[in-house]
Every structure is written in structure tokens, then in C-alpha cells.
């Protein structure tokens, strides 16, 4: 297997790269939000810059040239943004978001071992466009030099471009500039400076600090810190009280707009000058690139110390071992039962019982602990979604407000991964088909911007995710018409469908997209695919809709797939496990309860007709026992997504916690079987895939006849 050190290192690089890209994405989302609000935090651009810078370094180490090139050019653009050479336009953000997708693609292709030649063109293309933006000369900044502040030429000549830009920004937003002169001991200058900056941070932005020309003695370094703050001189003086620093307001020229006489400002000591203003978002901007790198190193060190990246397969392996321990525990319990029978061994039995109980408790804790490690917040997917929503809505020419709550709700890593595609499809459907064009919305008396809200919350052992839009709702008439045309529902039947049934028609293959998609963006994705994917995760999807008001999809998912509770049953002489989360109830019936409608077995359950299915028939199993179907039987009512059926079984063996294991690549696609699990006594038992069985049982009868 691929365990060579380089391979391992590459894997680590890829997962780290992915994390950085995700961070970069979050920075961009924050910028987008701030841009819309009209003021952005320079620190966020710096963060984005740092992220891309790390990517460049990392990918260079691993020879992923495409990533290095892309990062390098992105760095240029971000640098221009940082320095205010380029203004942050929506189009520029689009380019940056495009880079995120491209990074993800490169990571994916590298992981798959491909060099991805087609991707290379995309990289080049994006780089060309990035460069065009990065080189675009900014328009306005040069026109108003220093807003009336008298700034010394010797100061301006030593400012880095970034510092100069921040200086301009601060002046533009009308803040006052202060010079703080402080002396530091040579040995402790780092500490002293940090302390001073810490005190200044709450009131303004430290734009730069420069060594003062007036050197006092060899043991000390004197610095001039230049601060921008929306504050009075006195406030700044109070902030630095006790540090021995001297604060001065920088002088303004007589022509200054506010007409403040320059005499009021203590004369700056000619050699240095200072400028300042409060930051737009309260954080002090960091200095030139060198300092940025230093900070980045600190950040990396910190994260290494606190978290460990683990291959999910290793956790699977641990889970496996815990499963084995559970079987060993069951074995011990049986031994205990035998020991108990021996009256001469009561003391031994008691001790064994005691030890077994504490073993049990610890084992449960261990199991819970491992499950917890596998949990990741849904926010990981939601971040990706916001990016996609942004892009789709721009493409579709619709304005969308996305509200997200419950991003910290946690689910098993595997489920979160598998959720991203279905959620993406749902979003696309919401935007393409749900939300109307702005004109139509206005005409309907709705706000022009459509709202999509995603809410996630934990309910017991499940997580419920609701996606709600305030669009036009489902077109019931059209759905029925389509269903009849496709022969899914008979014309007669169609009239008797409940509204819920009509809404659920969108989950049938070929019904949700085609026609509707043609008149829209043509990008519709079948909701049947979404449903299949959700069902694969043992999840349930439900839809509610109100014409003109909107549509709500509700996904209910188990928190983890690793360990599930299952009902152990026997049918046709074989033992199977049925995941308990899809079991609604189980009942005892006699042969007389089973009726047939059009040669399909059904029974009536509380006034409703419940289709029945026999595993031996579905799986074409031969009965081992000669007496055939026993008269007394059990029905396990299972339901998934929209449908429910009753499984006819011979015996119920009770519930067990099981670890579902894959049957391996060769058998992965056997329909109706989700995997296998080991019960006590080295017995391997198949776990039913209820979603597929329900589908098959329903599909085999219901729809076809209408065609």
C-alpha cells in the first residue's frame, strides 16, 4: 500500500493545503460581507495574504507547480489590495473565489495522483486575469496627498508602501495623527514595544514605528510610533501613562479643512513625523511583509501544539477495535452467567460481575470518545455553500441573502463530507427554480433580494437541517401534469393525491428538472439524486411548500454512521440486522392479516394500507426450513424518506449496537445490503440497506402499472 514517507508527507501537505484554502475562503467571505457593509478590516486582507503565502511556500516544497504559480500571482493581487493600489470590487472578489475553487481542484487532482493537464490551462487563464487586475492602476489615491497634514518628507520616504496606504486610509477617514516617542531598553525592546502597542490598540491603529534620530545613549533605543486615532490628545496620553512615552499630535497645515491652527500642535521634532487614525475595524494593521511572516510562524506553531490531524481511516480502525472489544465483552458476560450457575463460586461471580461492569463503562466511554473525535461542525460544509450560493446567484442574476444558523452543530466527518453534494444541489434548485427574478419579486410585493436560510440543530441522536427559501413555491399543477405525462401516476390517481404526495413528486427521477430547467438556467439537478444521497446516509428528506411563499426542505440525519443500533431479525433461515433509525415499529401478525391487492401483499395498519415485502422474495433466497412460512410472523415497519413498507420476518432477536463494515469493493454495490457486522460467536450478519429495499419494494409495484 502507499505508505512511503513521501506519500505520507504528500497526504499531510494536501490536508494542510485544504485547511489553508478553507481559511482563505472564510477570509474572502468576510471581505465580501464587509465590502457590502462599506468598510473592511485591513487585517482580513492580511490574513488572506498570509494564507496564500503559506500555500505558496508549502506547494513549492512539494513541487505542486500549478499551486505555487497560482499562489504567487494571487499574492501579487492581494498585495495590491493591501496597499490600496487596487480597489476591492465584486469582480475582483469573484476572481479570488475562483482561485479557491481552482485550489480545491488542484488539491483533488494531486490527491488522485494526476497532474491534471486540463487544470493547467485554467490556472494560466486565471493567472492572466489576476495579473490584469493586479496591474490596474488605482484611480483616486494620488489625487489628495495628505489631507492637510503636514508630514515630513523624511517620514514619507521611509514608510513602506503598505504603511503609506494605511496612512492615507486613516487620513481619508478623518482621524487624527499622533506621534508617540518612547525609549526602550535594548534588551527588552520586543516586550516593551508589544506592551506599548497593546495599550494603543484599543484607541487606534499603529501605522508604523521608526527609530528616532535623537539617540540618547547606547543602552536605549528610541522609537517614534505613529498612531492614527479618533481621539483627543489627552486620551492617547492617558492610554500610555506609565510607559514614559511622550505623545504629540502631528501638526496640520494652515490650509487644513477643519482650520485647526497648527500652533495647537506641539511641533514635531522635525526628524520624524507621525500619522494616524483609528482602524476601521478596531484591529491594528501589521507592518511590512517581514513582520507578517514572523507572525505567521507563531500562528503555525500554536496550531500544531493544539490539534492533531488524523487520517479518518485510523479512526475507522480504532472504531473497529472498539467493536471487537464489545464482542469480547459479550463473551465475558456469557462466562459470567455460567459462573453464576455454580453455587460454589458466588464470590468469584461477584468479583467478575464487578470488574465486568467497570470494563463496560470504560468501553462505553472509549466508544463515545472516538465518536466524538470524528465529529466535525457542519460549518465546514456551510462555508462551501455560501461560496457556491454567491456564484450561482450572480450567474442567475438574482440577489440572494443567505442566513445560516447552527453551523456549530456537529456530525460525523463522513456524513458531513457526503452532505456537501446534496446540499449544493438543493441550493442550486432553490436559486434556479425557487427564488424569482427581482422584477417578479417586486411585483409580488416581496423584497427584491431573495432569502435562503439554512438551520441546523441537533435533536437527540439526529441532526435536522432545514433549508427554506422565500421563493415561488412548488408548482403543484405542473408537477401533476408532468407526473401524468411520464406515466408515474395515472390520470385518475392524480386527482386523489394529497398535497404532500404532490410535493413529494419532485423526488421522482426525471420529474423535477427537465422542463422546468429549460426555461430557467438549464442547470437543474434532479432532486431524485439528492434523495438517493440522503437515503444512503440513512437520512430522511421531506418537502413542504406554499405557493408564492416558499419551499422548505427538511433533512434528518443520524449523527454518526460508525456505530448504530440495529434490530436483529431472522427471515428465511438467515439472520439480518436492520438499522434501528429506519424502523418505525414492529408488530406481530398472523397469516390472516396479510391481504393481497393486485397480487401484492399488504396489510392494514391503523386504517392505512401498508405494502409488505418478504426478504426471501426480494433476495430470491431459498427457505432452509421445510415447513415453509410459519403462521405467526412479525412485521417490521420501516420507513425512509417518503415511503414506508412492512418487512415480513420470522423472528425478532432484539437490539444490538453494531459497527457497520463494508463488504469490500467487489460487493459494495449489492443492492439492498449496506454492509455486514459481526455479532457474538464469530457470526457475520448482513445489514440491510432499508432505503434501497423500500425503493425496490415500492418501485416494483406502485408506479409501473400506470405506464
Amino acid at each position: 500500500m502507499s505508505d512511503s514517507p513521501t506519500e505520507k508527507a504528500l497526504q499531510e501537505f494536501l490536508s494542510e493545503a485544504q485547511e489553508i484554502v478553507e481559511q482563505f475562503n472564510r477570509d474572502l467571505l468576510a471581505l465580501d460581507e464587509q465590502r457590502a457593509a462599506g468598510a473592511f478590516d485591513p487585517e482580513v486582507i492580511n490574513d488572506a495574504f498570509r494564507a496564500v503565502h503559506s500555500l505558496k511556500g508549502l506547494s513549492g516544497l512539494f513541487g505542486v507547480t500549478r499551486m505555487t504559480n497560482l499562489s504567487h500571482n494571487l499574492e501579487n493581487l492581494l498585495d495590491s489590495l493591501r496597499l490600496g493600489r487596487v480597489e476591492l470590487q465584486p469582480a475582483t472578489l469573484d476572481l479570488l473565489f475562483e482561485a479557491v475553487s481552482l485550489f480545491n481542484r488542484i488539491v483533488g487532482e494531486t490527491a488522485a495522483g494526476g497532474s491534471g493537464d486540463d487544470g493547467a490551462n485554467l490556472v494560466e487563464d486565471l493567472i492572466a486575469r489576476l495579473d490584469r487586475v493586479a496591474l490596474r492602476k488605482e484611480a483616486s489615491a494620488e489625487s489628495s496627498p495628505w489631507g492637510g497634514w503636514e508630514l515630513d518628507a523624511s517620514l514619507l520616504s521611509v514608510l513602506t508602501e503598505y504603511e503609506e496606504h494605511r496612512l492615507r486610509e486613516n487620513i481619508k477617514s478623518g482621524r487624527s495623527l499622533f506621534r508617540i516617542h518612547a525609549a526602550f531598553d535594548l534588551m527588552t525592546i520586543d516586550k516593551g514595544l508589544d506592551e506599548l502597542k497593546g495599550k494603543l490598540k484599543p484607541i487606534g491603529e499603529v501605522i508604523t514605528y521608526l527609530p528616532s534620530a535623537e539617540s540618547a545613549n547606547d543602552q536605549q533605543i528610541e522609537l517614534d510610533v505613529i498612531l492614527g486615532a479618533q481621539a483627543e490628545l489627552r486620551a492617547v496620553q492617558e492610554a500610555v501613562v506609565g510607559t514614559g512615552a511622550v505623545v504629540a499630535l502631528l501638526p496640520r497645515a494652515k490650509s487644513a479643512a477643519d482650520g485647526r491652527p497648527s500652533a495647537m500642535a506641539p511641533a514635531a521634532s522635525a526628524t520624524t513625523a507621525a500619522a494616524g487614525a483609528a482602524t476601521t475595524a478596531g484591529k491594528a494593521a501589521k507592518g511590512e511583509p517581514k513582520r507578517i511572516e514572523r507572525e505567521e510562524e507563531e500562528l503555525t506553531l500554536k496550531s500544531v501544539a493544539q490539534t492533531v490531524r488524523v487520517d479518518i481511516r485510523k479512526l475507522d480502525n480504532l472504531m473497529n477495535i472498539v467493536g471487537e472489544l464489545g464482542i469480547a465483552r459479550a463473551g465475558l458476560t456469557q462466562i459470567l452467567d455460567r459462573v453464576k450457575l455454580d453455587k460454589s463460586q458466588t464470590k468469584l461471580a461477584r468479583e467478575l460481575h464487578h470488574e465486568l461492569r467497570s470494563l463496560s463503562r470504560k468501553l462505553d466511554e472509549l466508544q463515545a470518545g472516538i465518536l466524538e473525535v470524528r465529529m466535525v461542525p457542519l460549518g465546514q460544509v456551510f462555508d462551501k455553500l455560501s461560496r457556491v450560493v454567491r456564484k450561482i446567484s450572480r450567474d442567475a442574476g438574482k440577489e440572494i441573502r443567505l442566513g445560516i444558523s447552527g453551523a456549530d452543530t456537529e456530525l460525523d466527518k463522513l456524513i458531513v463530507e457526503e452532505l456537501s453534494d446534496p446540499l449544493m444541489h438543493i441550493m442550486r434548485n432553490c436559486i434556479d427554480h425557487g427564488i424569482e427574478r427581482p422584477e417578479a419579486r417586486k411585483a409580488a410585493g416581496k423584497p427584491e433580494a431573495g432569502t435562503i436560510s439554512i438551520r441546523a440543530e441537533q435533536r437527540g441522536n439526529h441532526v435536522v437541517i432545514q433549508i427554506e427559501d422565500d421563493g415561488r413555491g412548488l408548482d403543484e399543477q405542473k408537477l401533476i401534469k408532468k407526473a401524468v405525462e411520464r406515466g408515474v401516476v395515472g390520470a385518475h390517481e392524480a386527482r386523489e393525491l394529497s398535497r404532500r404526495d404532490v410535493h413529494n413528486l419532485i423526488f421522482l427521477p426525471g420529474l423535477s428538472t427537465k422542463d422546468v430547467a429549460d426555461e430557467m438556467s438549464g442547470r437543474g439537478v434532479g432532486m431524485d439524486v439528492v434523495k438517493t444521497n440522503i437515503a444512503r446516509l440513512s437520512g430522511i428528506i421531506d418537502v413542504e411548500s406554499e405557493p408564492g411563499l416558499g419551499t422548505r426542505l427538511t433533512l434528518t440525519l443520524p449523527i454518526t454512521l460508525a456505530i448504530i443500533q440495529a434490530l436483529v431479525i431472522r427471515a428465511a433461515g438467515r439472520t439480518f440486522a436492520v438499522p434501528l433509525n429506519s424502523v418505525l415499529e414492529s408488530l406481530r401478525i398472523t397469516q390472516a392479516d396479510v391481504k393481497t391487492i393486485e397480487r401484492r401483499e399488504v396489510m392494514s395498519l391503523r386504517g392505512q394500507t401498508l405494502p409488505l415485502a418478504r426478504l426471501e422474495r426480494l433476495f430470491r433466497l431459498e427457505r432452509d426450513d421445510l415447513e415453509g412460512v410459519p403462521n405467526k410472523q412479525f412485521v417490521v415497519v420501516v420507513g425512509l424518506a417518503q415511503h414506508r413498507i412492512g418487512l415480513l420476518v420470522d423472528e425478532l432477536h432484539g437490539q444490538e449496537d453494531i459497527v457497520i463494515k463494508s463488504l469490500g469493493r467487489a460487493l459494495a454495490d449489492v443492492p439492498g445490503i449496506a454492509g455486514a457486522t459481526e455479532l457474538g460467536g464469530k457470526k457475520t450478519v448482513l445489514v440491510l440497506d432499508v432505503a434501497q429495499i423500500v425503493e425496490e419494494a415500492v418501485g416494483a409495484g406502485g408506479g409501473q402499472e400506470a405506464a
Binding site: I321, K661, L663, G664, R665, D669, G672, I673, T684, V685
Partner: protein, 170 residues
Amino acid sequence: MSERITFATEETYLLRQDDRRARERRGVLTFAVGGEVYGVDILSIREIIKLREITEVPRAPRFLLGVVTVRGLVMPVVDLRLRLKLDAPELGRAARILVVMHKGERYGLLVDEVRGVVRFADNQIEPPPPSLSPSEAPFLAGIARYPEAGEERMVILLSLDAVLGFEVHS
């Protein structure tokens, strides 16, 4: 003292490699299936277990007997007699399941009896004869002859790629 340096050309390099390969002796686990002796590379064998209850998997091909769990891992078990379309006499007490690793996954191979390990050089292996029946031919990687107790023996080397190269679809 001047030493003349000769650079290896690609050709000489390949020749040397051939040479080395020919000298290297390969270990093959031999076993009996349906009256014939077969072998697979010993490096692909993970363990050999006694017959145990095999859980039948519906909708799988007939040669796939089902799955077993070995040390917590579930794996499909292939009945080699059925897979190779040989006669299938009753399984005796000597029957074993060979656990093999193939492309990162484990599989069980049901055999009538395990014989032992034989080592031979690559150049002792012949390509499979063309006269074989078409049903069996794709599974064979070659035939090796080796002397044992003064007699020449023959073992048919199986191609795991072919034996395990099946997929089950709906």
C-alpha cells in the same frame, strides 16, 4: 593510479537487472483445488484460516460464497473450484480459506488443501500453454516446473487480478 570509468548504458543496466531477477527466488504458496495444484505469490497471502461459517450474500455470483469476518475485517470469500469451473467434491477437513491481499483489500479463497511453499526463479516460469480451455486461460499467470523428490512437479500460477477481478452490480 588511473581507473577507467565505464558508464552503464541502459542496455547493460537492463541486462544486469534481468540477471538479478533470474537469480532471485520467488516464494509461491501451493494448494490443491479440484484435483489440480495451483499457486499464488506468497507475498499476497495474509493468513490461512480454517473453514468457518460463511454468510451468504444475496445477488452475488455463485462462485462468491459470501462473507466472513477475520480479525474484525469483513471480506468476500471466493470458491476457487467454482471460479475456475472445476469439479467441486465435498470439502474435507483439509479445506482452508486463504486470506489474500489484493489491491488494498482482503479476500478469502476457498481451497481444498494447502500443500506448501515452493521457491523458484522467474526464469523457471513458463507462460501458460495456448491450448488451455478458454474458460480457464484468463486466470493463469504461468506454469512453473520444479524438481521435488527426484520428480518434476508442476504448479499453475494464478493471476489474482483475474480471479478477483469481478464486480457485482444491481
